[in-house]
């Protein structure tokens, strides 16, 4: 547990709307209680935005959910503390009292817009439900009000959207509907739990703008939970930094960015990348060259499954990568960047020519391709899904060696141990299972698995996106170090331009299956030419 520096509370200027005192939360497991939040003090004043910042597992979501006691009583217990909302302790309320507050005086928005709307009901029905519950409005009476709210949250064609089902809306539109639902009863406090994390950057900026505007209009307080410091800087009045279940520091927004007092806050703020993009070296030999890459998925309709058109996931992409350099591919979700990565490794059927170190690999037969795979490897986004939970770390890393002809067990063990040291893991722990490791360590295991075959090309598909910011840059540093040591060529696929900026020699911006702009990364970050690139850069870097 960390030390608390100075006064952890720092009471708001206006009167306190919500005041959390010495809150402890524990999870039940059988008869045992495991405490995850160890005495949190938070105050939120009226009309104020408090950002609760911390890495995953710090207890920020649990704290937020306990305000409305959303955690089932069979799962969570509150050994101590008070949560006073307008002078009443929500921890002591009975269920009817709580229900009266939920969705009426306190609204809540969740991270995942896909799963927080019921897929079986229209928007009108779900919006109308909150209005019916708290104001007793009938469906016909609620309709104009719902429509009004959809307009206020900035949905285009609100009449049409009102009768849509969630799957007919995009992620950003769904999050707007969620906001409308949370605000329909004009609550005095809005709890927003990572409301923009699942959205693309350009949409993120729009949603934040919307929230800020609505806050001004309705005069409500917002508890904003996030791990993204750019967002904090942009919208928060005060910031509470949470670490290992306690609030280590609470301060005004400007003040905390200027003078973080607690060492943890410092490390969190320092996790921002500083380095500039490395310059490409034109004298290096070409490692990978792809021409006219196309991945079209047929759309089949009708009884005879006639092909009526194509989804052009990747549509005529040319790219080349030099040995020992990194090519970044940036783009929003759905731009085709992941499909392109898989197509380059021939994990997805594609058209176009691919040359790896001068060899055509697009025409290889299955068995030749299998043997060729040791020269090109891939690392996936989710370090939890990409490791087989039933195998030990040693087996996971050694599997490729076994397939590619290292049959001596002792020899394999030696190579595995070397590789584990290379990626910063302790070879002593080779017999553990993946679930005993944290996300960052798992990603190191995935890197070791790819690296052990000594490939010349490594495709990194959002390798840092599911990691905490501080861990992200450790992984990036590791990747840079390995590139220098083994002369690896990387294709780095990401939507996170800050990460790309710190590692890429060359950059390609993808939109709708095409590359709209490409060139040396330093040049693109300095003077983006294509309007879409400019928009991406301004949302990613222009927030401050």
């Amino acid at each position: 547990m960390s030390e608390v520096v100075g006064s952890p509370t720092n009471v708001p200027a206006s009167g306190s709307l919500l005041s959390i005192r010495d809150l402890r939360i524990a999870f039940r497991r059988g008869t045992e209680l495991r405490e995850v939040v160890h005495g949190v003090d938070i105050d939120i004043g009226e009309n104020e935005t408090l950002a609760l910042v911390g890495e995953s597992g710090s207890g920020k979501t649990v704290t937020a959910q306990s305000i409305l006691r959303l955690l089932p009583d069979s799962l969570a217990a509150y050994p101590a503390g008070r949560i006073e909302f307008k002078g009443h302790d929500t921890l002591k309320m009975d269920l009817p009292e709580l229900r009266a507050i939920r969705g009426d005086e306190i609204g809540m928005i969740f991270q995942e817009p896909m799963s927080s709307l019921n897929p079986l009901h229209t928007v009108a029905k779900q919006l109308g439900e909150t209005l019916f519950l708290h104001r007793g409005l009938s469906a016909s009476a609620a309709r104009p009000l719902s429509l009004e709210w959809l307009r206020r949250v900035g949905l285009s064609q609100p009449e049409k959207k009102l009768d849509s089902y969630p799957h007919q809306l995009s992620g950003g539109e769904r999050q707007r509907v969620m906001i409308a639902m949370a605000l329909a009863n004009e609550p005095s406090l809005l709890i927003a739990d990572e409301p923009t994390t699942a959205l693309d950057v350009t949409i993120q900026a729009q949603i934040l703008e919307l929230l800020k505007e609505l806050q001004r209009e309705l005069g409500m307080a917002v508890l904003f939970i996030t791990h993204n410091l750019e967002i904090v800087r942009r919208i928060a009045d005060r910031v509470a930094v949470m670490h290992d279940g306690i609030v280590v520091e609470t301060k005004g927004c400007a003040e905390i960015f200027a003078h973080p007092a607690h060492p943890y806050s410092k490390s969190l703020l320092d996790a921002e990348p500083k380095s500039e993009s490395p310059e490409p070296d034109l004298s290096r030999p070409i490692l990978l060259e792809a021409k006219e890459m196309r991945v079209w998925f047929p759309i089949q309709r009708g009884f005879m499954r006639k092909t009526t058109g194509y989804v052009k996931a990747v549509d005529g992409v040319d790219l080349s990568l030099r040995k020992g350099e990194t090519l970044g591919i940036a783009g929003e979700s759905g731009s085709g960047k992941t499909t392109l990565g898989k197509a380059l490794l021939r994990l997805t059927a594609s058209k176009g020519s691919i040359l790896l170190e001068g060899d055509r690999i697009d025409a290889l037969k299955a068995e030749e391709l299998r043997l060729c795979r040791r020269r090109m490897q891939i690392i996936f986004q989710d370090p939890f899904g990409s490791l087989n939970p039933r195998m030990t770390v040693e087996d996971i890393i050694a599997e490729g060696l076994e397939t590619h002809g290292v049959s001596d067990r002792a020899e394999r063990g030696r190579i595995v141990a070397d590789t584990m040291r290379d990626v910063g893991l302790d070879p002593e722990q080779a017999l553990r299972y993946p679930h005993e490791y944290s996300g960052g360590q798992r990603q190191r295991i995935a890197i070791a698995r790819a690296l052990v075959l000594r490939p010349s090309l490594l495709i990194l598909d959002e390798p840092t996106s599911s990691l905490d910011r501080t861990i992200q840059f450790q992984v990036i540093e590791l990747l840079k170090e390995l590139q220098g040591k083994y002369g690896l060529g990387y294709i780095f696929i990401s939507h996170d331009l800050k990460v790309l900026k710190s590692i890429c020699h060359e950059l390609a911006i993808m939109k709708d299956g095409k590359i709209v702009e490409s060139g040396p990364a330093a040049r693109i970050f300095r003077e983006p030419r294509h309007p879409y690139t400019q928009e991406l850069l301004s949302t990613a870097f222009g927030l401050n």
Partner: protein, 344 residues
């Protein structure tokens, strides 16, 4: 061992959840005890004594045959120990140790108080069937053969089903479509008629029945396993394995099959139930095991033909219903144990 704790803790947790279902846990032990006992049916119900002591020497009639002459009889034929004369000869110079039930499944009791089927007596605790054979002995042997048949059929059909499901699910596309259509056609085949045709050509025995029921009964698991493979082949660790250049067989066995096994194991007890029922119904209809075999289905059909002798039908019913219930209870507990939603 410390290294294995990750997985063993999962298995331990499953075993704990299995035990938490008391009914299933107790059922498992009862079933295992009954099945274990029935494996030694020859020592429980037999028309041969377990041990004969004659002139100070030991004889084991259950294991080897002895001529009547061995015990001072007239003829050089196998001794019939139930013959009062042989009994008298042996008892004169030694003694016999009988199993608890002095009948095997085929032994006809000629010494019946009333015409067969005769009601329960001290010698025949559950009465006899219409040929004077002891019902309890038939049940013990019949239970054993039913469970053995069920287990063999379950294991074999699961193996075939898992393999078929795995191949369809992993390769997808044409393999999958052709496989699915084949299964649809194949499962439309009338098993019963094929058995009837077969029984007019050969005398069906245990292995023939197993072969035929297996031929038409392996489709049970294909659906589940195929679905599991379709899902898992897109897992990132499976993609990663493909990117490593692993062979298909290795990806299937090492990376995907363990996922599918959970569904398979959960289904097992229920398939075992079905297999036992299959054999019983074939026997009941008269297309099953050759005449003279101990069979619960045959006993049921005798019960139907002799409604005046309720001990036939009732005994067979109780045994069957009991066995199937025990298996269903075990199956429920297995399902609980593997249910990931209860894993918390």
């Amino acid at each position: 061992m410390k290294a294995r704790r990750g997985i063993s803790s999962l298995s331990r947790e499953r075993w704990r959840r299995f035990k938490a279902n008391r009914r299933g846990y107790v059922s498992l032990w009862i079933f295992l005890a009954l099945f274990g006992a029935s494996l030694f049916a020859e020592l429980l119900a037999n028309d041969l004594p377990l041990l004969v002591v004659y002139e100070g020497r030991l004889y084991f009639p259950v294991v080897s045959r002895y001529s009547e002459k061995t015990f001072g009889g007239e003829f050089d034929t196998d001794a019939d120990y139930r013959d009062p004369q042989v009994g008298t000869l042996i008892r004169a110079k030694g003694f016999m140790l009988w199993p608890p039930i002095r009948f095997s499944y085929g032994t006809i009791n000629y010494d019946l108080p009333s015409p067969a089927p005769s009601p329960p007596t001290r010698a025949n605790p559950l009465g006899t069937d219409d040929q004077g054979r002891d019902v309890l002995a038939t049940i013990i042997y019949g239970f054993r053969i039913s469970v053995l048949f069920g287990l063999t059929l379950t294991l074999l059909s699961s193996a075939v089903g898992v393999a078929a499901g795995a191949i369809q699910g992993y390769y997808g596309g044409k393999v999958d479509i052709l496989g699915q259509r084949f299964i649809e056609v194949w499962s439309g085949m009338p098993t019963l008629f094929i058995l009837i045709i077969l029984s007019s050509v050969v005398q069906p025995n245990f292995w023939w029945l197993l072969l035929i029921t297996l031929l038409f009964g392996w489709m049970n698991l294909v659906g589940v396993v195929r679905a599991e493979f379709l899902r898992a082949r897109n897992f990132e660790y499976v993609l990663a394995a493909r990117a490593l250049g692993l062979k298909d067989s290795r990806i299937i066995f090492r990376h995907i099959l363990p996922n599918a096994l959970v569904a398979t194991l959960t289904f097992m007890p229920f398939i075992l139930c079905g297999s036992i029922t299959t054999l019983t119904s074939l026997d009941f209809l008269g297309f099953g095991m050759p005449p003279g075999s101990p069979s619960l289905g045959d006993l049921l059909s005798q019960g139907k033909d002799n409604l005046q002798a309720p001990w036939l039908g009732v005994s067979a019913f109780v045994v069957l219903a009991g066995t199937l219930s025990l298996l269903v209870f075990v199956g429920e507990a297995v399902r609980d144990a593997f249910d990931p939603r209860r894993a918390s």
